[in-house]
Amino acid sequence: MNAANIAEIIAFALSAFIAVAGALGMATTMSMFRSGIFLMASFMGVAGLFVLLSADLLGLLQIMMYIGGMLVMILFMVLFMQDPGGAMMADMPDMMTPVGKIFSLGLKQNDPTGTGPEEEGEGRDGDDDNMGDMDMSDMAMVTPAYRWAVWAALLTAGGLVALLLLRPAWPLASGALDPRSAERIGSLLMDKYMVGFEGAGFLILIGIVGAVFMARTGRHGAKADRDSRSAIEDTPPEIEADPLTPLAGDIGQTGPGGAA
């Protein structure tokens, strides 16, 4: 057991721990943003495993795609969800699973002075007790089927690991690895897998065009814009010398033509 072997085992243990703990954190934490960050951490653990397996180009490709992609996706998620930061859920520890409590440590609870982050679709009550009219079960992050899901996951993990440990040995080959993996991959992509490469490019193009097309607002604008426009048209004209007018001055500035 020389130093290189020990270093390799430590690197493997660290990367594997980050990968699995990150995935577990993503599945159980109460904060959406942390969920995304944990997923990113899990991918970096897997990228570390790829580099240990001498697939360094692939490990870096994984990091590049997922930091760029995941980060944008997390921010998307924040726009659409209630309580993306987990501040509301941090006040309700009895709604979390035991594992979820560990991964939700350090989340700051609701600050009633109103200096917290802005959240879309959720008014800032500034008051923890104002939840009486909301149905508690709507707040859960998991569906009612989650006990079945836990059993399914445990059975899957147990079954796969048992199969792995009991299976007879694979025909292992050990050869000298080509250090110029980037050139090898590049020439294979252009050579043997050209059709797949072009097909993947075409698929990405279709995906881009489709996603942009789907995300466009229609000819009449989004519902929120239409509502705000009709709300503005319904307000009566301002009264001269009204002492309250300067305070309401912001409403008149989101004119037709939509979001600033």
Binding site: A27, A55, G69, M77, A173, L188, G196
Partner: protein
């Protein structure tokens, strides 16, 4: 290689199980997408582990993993686009609210 092939495959199996849990149990559509990404990641790990230990001369496994990563990214983008359209219709992205496709 002092770390055996089985170790990498066990990590892959654990990631797969966590991904399955996430896809089935989470309510938000974006969380389901994230679970699918974890599953694809576990598959990629399996592919590369087998490449390294069983057939290191043929780089096809890395090509396949590149394709998996790419297609996973495209699928996530399209999924988010669909989710945004659904949100505009109903102001909710919980999968429980879209139950009328079932049955």
């Amino acid at each position: 290689m002092t770390v055996p092939l089985t170790a990498y495959l066990v990590v892959g199996a654990l990631l797969f199980a966590i991904g399955v849990y996430t896809v089935v149990a989470q309510r938000g559509a974006v969380m389901v997408l994230m679970g699918i990404e974890v599953i694809l990641n576990a598959i990629g790990l399996n592919l590369i582990a087998f490449w390294r230990f069983v057939a290191p001369a043929d780089y096809s496994a890395q090509i396949f993993t590149i394709f998996i990563i790419t297609i996973g990214a495209v699928e996530m983008a399209v999924g988010l686009g669909i989710m945004m359209l659904l949100y505009r219709q109903r102001q909710s992205v919980q999968v429980d609210d879209y139950a009328e496709l079932r049955g």
